[in-house]
Amino acid sequence: MEFAELIKTPRADNVILHRPFYLAVEGTLCLTGHHLIFSSRRQDNAEELWLLHSNIDSIEKRFVGSLGTIVIKCKDLRIIQLDIPGMEECLNIASSIEALSTLDSVTLMYPFFYRPMFEIVEDGWRCFLPDQEFELLSAVTDEWRLSCINKEFSVCPSYPPVVIVPKSIDDEALRKVAMFRHGSRFPVLSYYHKKNGMVMMRSSQPLTGTNGRRCKEDEKLINATLRPGKRGYIIDTRSLNVAQQARAKGGGFEQEAHYPQWRRIHKCIERFNILQESLIKLVEACNDQSHNMDRWLSKLEASNWLTHIKEILTAACLAAQCIDREGASVLVHGTEGTDSTLQVTSLAQIILDPRCRTICGFESLVVREWLQAGHPFQQRCAQSAYSNSKQKWEAPVFLLFLDCVWQILRQFPCSFEFNEQFLIMLFEHAYASQFGTFLGNNENERSKLKLPQKTMSLWSWVNRSEELSKFQNPLFEANSLVIWPSVAPQSLQLWEGVFLRWNRPSKFLDEAHEEMINIIKYNKELQAKVNALRRQLAEMETDDRMQENL
């Protein structure tokens, strides 16, 4: 298919762009296969706006006489309005945008066409391989092994080709365990806590069904992670009720009788459309510029967004607490083990592991616990808060995770190497990007699409010093401790950087932030200078003393 077929009017002049808190600008609108480009050539104030079609969540058109208006709502939550003279042009443009923003073939997406203008220092596709991760692990323990059982994605379609499993369990047993777990997602290692050797594993629900099926190999596998005489915790991210109901559909949970060394804790985290609804309501509330305080607070409450944040953080803290404080190993799962499970395991690692609070470590965490672990990004992030499609598989699971990270970052602002912008950038790229990183639903699909060969990795772009400097937290001071966030409602806040980003002028806040960075920079300069001078003085003194001794 040629994109040209979809673009009936590639260009319109005298278009007026409206954005909140900016003056309206007149300029030319161009449509290309992947971008909507608006450029104004006014002498005093030339500017260009490039918008990826894939970033467009929904589009509305209105007409007043022959003047058409298109309102474009983006996945990054921004809303812009274009006034286009000429009914036909406007209709053509609107239909082109609609068609181009809802292409159904992945291979037509921009990442397959994008050619980077920068030099690639390090290929992001080769940055975070499981082998490297295992090397780090083998340095501290020899109880685990790398299994290639899933080499051709033959055992579990949503797992990566290699996974880390207990050494004492062979591939044959793994195959049996896979049969016993939803989507074949058998328990694998998620995190090893160096401090006390405790581990966190993740899986999907066991297929116990109504007649309480059991699987000896499954029991053996997870028991292999326990120290003699120690108990472990299974954190089920569903309520007991939901877990029980799952049995009717062949799913279920670990029965005490068959897993006597494990204690099961149910921590309910919502899924799918409930989360999507929550996001839609929250964004609706934030876009309401009315001055009614009661309405704002009741809408914020009704969205339940902060409740979800609290639930997820609480479950993650619980997992971390089991490992660090109780000295127990933990297995986390929900139903499929691709959503709430990953929220819990990844957040627990941020709490426990200082490495995950560095830029590189966080990238590695996203790759391990989200991309390789098979979070279906393409399904979940297909649409955002303005979509009307309401597909069951769309859900802001990853955005909730980022929001939780932001909450922890706010409470420990010096313990993270990255800043808020880094998280916002990940949110944007998860929904629309020129990079191939978040395309596909799992490693299997990514390898079929040949993403590493045909597209550029987000990490190749981010991890260059020019870009990195934007995402570095000037206050960072490595903190090797476990960080326990407060989950009291008074401590949780709306993530303004994402949800109010387009709804209020931020000039004063930005300037203040800049001033803060200047103070920190200046402080570093002065310290360096004082130290240099001291050294100089000391050298002079030793020289003098030596002369004296002579």
Binding site: L297, E301, C414, L481, W484, S491, L509, I519, I520, E541
Partner: protein
């Protein structure tokens, strides 16, 4: 003194507690726990003491403070508990001003320092700064002996054309004699903020002198022929007042006024609103939705928004239309003070400096007779007179500092500290209800002023991000009052609930850094001078030896980075806290806390606002 007393964690569901000894002194209640940490509570800060039913571990005693600290003790023996309870009741309820802490507090100043302290804020000087007296405004001696209005200060500024008979006539037509006077004069616009109480208009009464008075105010502004009259009450309340012979201005009787209601609720609504807010925020195991709906139901943020909206209205009239504005409510000492002072703060950058903020409070709150004693319950009095009107003012200012982080010289700690002392009765400034009362109490001789004390520790209250160029003189702040800009002020209402705060404070860090920067700049100068001197003296060995003993610089070098050690630490105020040990038990991860609660060493130590590892 009672031993083996337990201090319970306010929010812990597992009744986690600290054991220690409780002491009662003449002015404070003191609790020292087993690790020698001290908790001091001033008796005047105690708002309520409650004895709960006896439990197996002892007799629980809950103390609520005016600074929103709540402490929950368990005293092993009921008799002791009863004694403490009775003593606290007596100590926290003072009948006479002379028994307040301020009269016994002695900061070791001599008499001249005391006098100088009281002279620090000079309102005559402040009016001069605004540009009055001038061709249109003059100082009136009408109230020199508090004859016209007891609750106004002696010195009042009125339009030149308002003669004494007009003043007297107008004051008779106004509730409590509080006739229209100048609160703030805007030099560039020649427009004024005036304040008064409601007119005694009833359904039809009118008063020519009062009409003349408003006419005079309007005429004192050459740039505009009309003026606004802002009634800060909801319309319904104002109308109800008419039945009692009070009410509001009839536009037909006053030429050229534009009348406007702005709908700020009265002191009773505000009191119960705060009560509801505190009930919600004090709930154990609170869910997000209960918190948000409680916040909504309390109406607290709605009231804060109403106050700020009113100030924005006032400011627009002056800055955009150059029109003078007369503000009143019922008595003109609560809502009127809020709106006038916030309006001035938005109009004039002087009030956004530390000194200027003190002046603003002295002017619009203290001198114009905001009833601090009644509203803050300094003496045992009518509980219906208590109301958080001043707290709302501070909260509105805090909201502005959040929106304009570079516009204010002072920081949140400054606001919290003022709030602390409005209730502490440690200094004389806020005692009593009006200037006349203060003079009678001889506060200037018998007590000390808060302001020099705050200026003395100014460093703690400075906003490191403050940029004086951000708003040159008379630059208007235009706050955005869309609802989502108003947030729950955690640092006020949970000031003492450390577990709820961020464990690392960016603000403190930046504040310390900016303080350190000044020190470093000096160090550099000093070092450069030394090096220069040394270069000059490289031959004169003997002299150098002498110098070395005087300046042991190389010693310091052995412990790099030594500048940190030399740096005098800004005392970290209780109000703005930095990092706490990361402690799981601090956080309430639901019912499992009980199971997991284990004693844990404090793992982060605080050093110059930076987390440092000890393990």
């Amino acid at each position: 003194q009672v031993e083996q007393v337990k201090l319970l964690d306010r929010f812990s569901t597992s009744n986690k507690s600290l054991t220690g000894t409780l002491y009662l002194t003449a002015t404070h209640l003191l609790f020292i726990d087993s690790s020698q940490r001290e908790t001091w509570i001033l008796h005047h800060h105690i708002a309520a003491v409650e004895k709960l039913p006896l439990t197996t571990s002892g007799c629980p005693l809950v103390i609520q403070c005016k600074n929103f600290r709540i402490v929950h003790f368990v005293v092993p023996r009921e008799r002791d508990c009863h004694d403490i309870y009775n003593s606290l009741l007596q100590l926290s309820r003072t009948a006479k001003y002379e028994e307040l802490y301020a009269f016994s507090y002695n900061p070791k100043q001599n008499e001249s320092e005391q006098v100088k302290g009281w002279q620090l804020i000079d309102l005559a000087e402040e009016y001069k700064r605004m540009g009055v007296p001038n061709a249109n405004w003059q100082l009136s001696d009408a109230n020199r002996d508090y004859k016209i209005c007891e609750t106004y200060p002696r010195e009042l500024y009125v339009p030149r054309t308002a003669s004494k008979p007009i003043i007297v006539g107008s004051s008779k037509f106004r509730s409590k004699g509080r006739f229209p006077v100048l609160s703030y004069y805007h030099k560039n616009k020649e427009a004024a903020i005036c304040r008064c109480s409601q007119p005694l208009s009833g359904f039809s009464a009118r008063c020519l002198e009062d009409e003349h008075m408003l006419q005079a105010i309007s005429k004192a502004n050459p740039s505009n022929h009309y003026m606004y009259v802002m009634d800060t009450r909801p319309k319904l309340n104002a109308m109800a007042n008419r039945a009692a012979g009070k009410g509001y201005e009839n536009e037909d009787n006053y030429s050229n006024i534009r009348f406007q209601f702005v709908g700020i609720e009265n002191i009773h609504v505000m009191r119960s609103s705060l009560q509801k807010l505190l009930e919600v925020s004090g709930t154990k195991g609170l869910s997000v939705n209960d918190f948000l709906s409680g916040l909504e139901n309390s109406g607290w943020l709605r009231h804060i928004k109403a106050v700020l909206d009113a100030a924005v209205f006032l400011v627009k009239a002056i800055a955009v239309e150059s029109a003078s504005v007369l503000v009143h409510c019922s008595d003109g000492w609560d809502r009127t003070s809020q709106v006038c002072s916030l309006g001035a703060l938005l109009l004039d950058s002087y009030y956004r400096t530390i000194k200027g903020f003190m002046v603003l409070i002295e002017k619009d709150w203290i001198s114009f007779g905001h009833k601090f004693s009644d509203r803050c319950c300094q003496l045992d009095g009518d509980p219906k007179e208590i109301s958080p009107v001043f707290t709302q003012f501070l909260e509105s200012v805090w909201n502005l500092t959040e929106q304009f982080p570079q516009a204010f010289e002072y920081n949140e700690a400054f606001l919290l500290q003022i709030h602390e002392h409005v209730h502490s009765c440690q200094f004389g400034n806020f005692l009593g209800n009006c200037q006349k009362e203060r003079e009678e109490l001889k506060l200037k001789q018998k007590t000390y002023s808060l302001w020099p004390f705050l200026l003395g520790e100014q460093k703690k209250y400075q906003n490191p991000l403050y940029n004086p160029d951000f708003s040159p003189e008379l630059t208007l702040l235009e706050p955005n009052t869309v609802s989502f800009n108003f947030k729950f002020w955690r640092n006020m209402y949970h000031q003492f609930d450390r577990s709820m705060h961020p464990r690392q404070s960016v603000f403190n860090l930046v504040m310390n850094m900016s303080e350190q920067n000044k020190q470093l700049e000096e160090d550099i100068k000093e070092l450069e001078a030394k090096i220069k001197r040394r270069n000059g003296q490289s031959d004169a060995v003997l002299v150098k030896e002498h110098q070395q003993s005087a300046h042991p610089v190389p010693m310091a070098l052995k412990t790099p980075p030594c500048f940190k050690k030399e740096q005098p630490l800004i005392p970290v105020n209780d109000a703005v806290r930095t990092i706490e040990g990361s402690n799981t038990a601090d956080n309430r991860y639901s019912e499992f806390v009980a199971e997991f609660s284990k004693a844990e060493p404090a793992v982060v130590s605080l050093e110059y606002g930076v987390a440092r590892m000890t393990c």
